[in-house]
């Protein structure tokens, strides 16, 4: 009843809501512009420079794109996350499946993992700098550390929580243990694995940005930090926008990928 009701009202509501959405964005831009161009300049020159107007940011963004500087740093950042993610996928998923499937392995490795897991990836930055310097290897290390545990834990939980009726049904249909693992358990656990991937990516992305801001020679995080030192606040915000857009695209992309690979998952079939 509630669903149908909403459908009944959505005809008249749609245009009103659309208008409000646009109003919301305009409100944001308006407040931003007002602060940057009207309020802050009143508070002194330093304050005036601290928040660039939307227009200044747009200009700077175009500049950076045109000069190629943006591309260089963006590629560097992307390269790092792609490498790290590949490593994480190839290690966390198999290990997660094994640990979910085998109680012995899980009992053995769990305490170790529970000790390492609470240490935030960011906290690894200084040590990794001592070991690996501030280059790509160190960045990849940090991302791996960040993304590994969420994916591992989610995969493990997914495998452990496969509906026992499914396994029972498969075995009464003649499947061997190996077949059950690959043809029943893995598909059944896949929603968790995908959820884990999205979470892992989010955390990895955040860790990468943090690592590049903290200490790097290239990459988007480095770029905005360098711009801060040059008091180029428009550049800083432009960089932030790019980081935001990229992060968003990745999340949407992962969701699309998920839907393409597993359209039968509940989140895509239920309204």
């Amino acid at each position: 009843m509630s669903r149908a009701d909403t459908a009944a009202n959505s005809g008249t509501r749609g245009s009103g809501e659309g208008l409000l959405r646009v109003a919301g964005v305009l409100l944001l831009l308006g407040v931003w512009w007002a602060l940057a161009s009207l309020v802050l300049p009143q508070m002194g020159e330093v304050a005036a420079k601290s928040l660039p107007s939307p227009w200044a940011v747009a200009e700077r963004l175009v500049e950076l794109a045109a000069s190629g500087e943006l591309l260089v740093h963006a590629l560097k950042t992307l390269q790092r996350i792609a490498t790290a993610f590949a490593i994480v996928l190839l290690t966390a998923i198999p290990l997660g499946v094994l640990m979910g499937w085998s109680e012995t392995l899980r009992f053995a490795l769990d305490p170790l993992l529970e000790l390492l897991r609470p240490i935030p990836p960011i906290a690894w930055i200084p040590l990794s700098i001592l070991w690996l310097g501030v280059g790509d290897a160190q960045k990849v290390y940090i991302i791996c550390f960040a993304a590994f545990f969420p994916l591992l834990v989610n995969t493990m939980v997914g495998v452990r929580h496969v509906n026992p009726s499914l396994v029972a049904a498969a075995s009464t249909l003649g499947a061997s243990r190996g077949q059950i693992l690959f043809r029943v358990v893995l598909p059944a656990a896949s929603p968790f694995v995908f959820a884990g991937m999205r979470i892992a990516f989010g955390i990895g992305w955040m860790a990468l940005v943090g690592a590049e801001v903290a200490a790097a020679l290239a990459g988007l995080g480095y770029m905005i930090m360098a711009m801060r030192q040059g008091f180029d606040s428009a550049g800083v915000v432009a960089g932030m926008v790019v980081i935001g857009v990229l992060g968003f695209c990745f999340d949407v992309g992962l969701r699309r990928l998920h839907r393409w690979l597993a359209p039968w998952h509940l989140e895509f079939t239920q309204v």
């Binding site: 009843m1 669903r3 009701d5």
Partner: protein
């Protein structure tokens, strides 16, 4: 004091903006329920019986037509039209007593009187000892008894019940039916009850009158008076007349179900 329910030409349609289609749930229901009568509505799944109940409750507006409960035109939900839900709808953060007290509290009844009323109704449904338990600690039957106590404690003029026993096991169901009859029959005044159910047997066992609905779009197909005397008891289940009536009503429904299966089904409202 109870009240009569009068439905006049109730129609309900749902529009989907996405594909500009109209789904006709109810197609002109006119019904009069005299004060104090126990009326059941049965029909195939998706025939709109729950929708009809929600319209009487005022939770869903009709597309056309009017509902009067007593002298009042129904325009929204209110405590005069108490309702029991299939999933019990108990507030998990309140104890049994807290739940039963809820309506009284919302209406601003003073504390002393509230507590007296709560005690009384807990006694009536036999849950006095569980007053401080939380819903998650109760069995299905106990939950529904709490829900019924909660609604009755509020003293509504009519009682609307949306398949209240569908979520409990068959044995508990039988016991709850007898309890409902006992509570209903023993009240200060017999309240008007509008009872929606899938089970023809249940409808015949409990009610004074049974209305059978068609498949979607819902209309009234049959309207029968139930001839059995009260108090009702399990002996009724052996009565051949009971069985005959049951089969007769079922054959109507079965026909509607089979016809309806050919068309697309609207899911029952939540």
């Amino acid at each position: 004091m109870g009240a009569a329910i009068r439905l006049k030409d109730i129609k309900k349609s749902y529009y989907s903006a996405r594909d500009a289609s109209e789904v006709r749930a109810l197609d002109g229901i006119t019904l009069e329920v005299p004060d104090g009568e126990f009326l059941s509505i049965v029909g195939p799944s998706g025939c709109g019986k729950s929708t009809l109940l929600f319209i009487v409750a005022g939770l869903v507006p009709p597309s056309e037509g009017t509902v009067f409960v007593g002298e009042e035109l129904v325009t929204g939900p209110g405590w005069q039209r108490g309702m029991a839900f299939q999933d019990f709808a108990l507030f998990p953060w309140l104890t049994v007593a807290g739940n039963v007290e809820f309506g009284l509290k919302m209406r601003g009844i003073p504390r002393e009187e509230r507590q007296r009323t709560v005690r009384k109704y807990l006694e009536i449904v036999g849950l006095r000892a569980f007053a401080d338990k939380y819903p998650h600690e109760l069995s299905g039957g106990m939950k529904q008894r709490t829900a019924i106590a909660r609604t009755l404690a509020n003293g509504p003029a009519v009682l609307l019940m949306d398949e209240p026993f569908a979520s409990v096991d068959a044995q508990t169901r039988q016991l709850l039916q007898d309890e409902l009859l006992r509570i209903w029959g023993a009240g200060e005044t017999k309240r008007t009850v509008l009872f929606v159910t899938h089970s023809v047997e249940e409808a015949l066992y409990l009610s004074d009158r049974v209305v059978v609905m068609t498949a979607r779009p819902g209309r009234i197909l049959e309207d029968l008076a139930v001839p059995f005397e009260r108090p009702r008891g399990e002996h009724l289940l052996k009565d051949p007349w009971f069985t005959d009536l049951r089969l007769e009503i079922w054959s109507h429904i079965k026909r509607e179900v089979l016809q309806g299966n050919a068309a697309e089904m609207l899911p029952e409202p939540e």
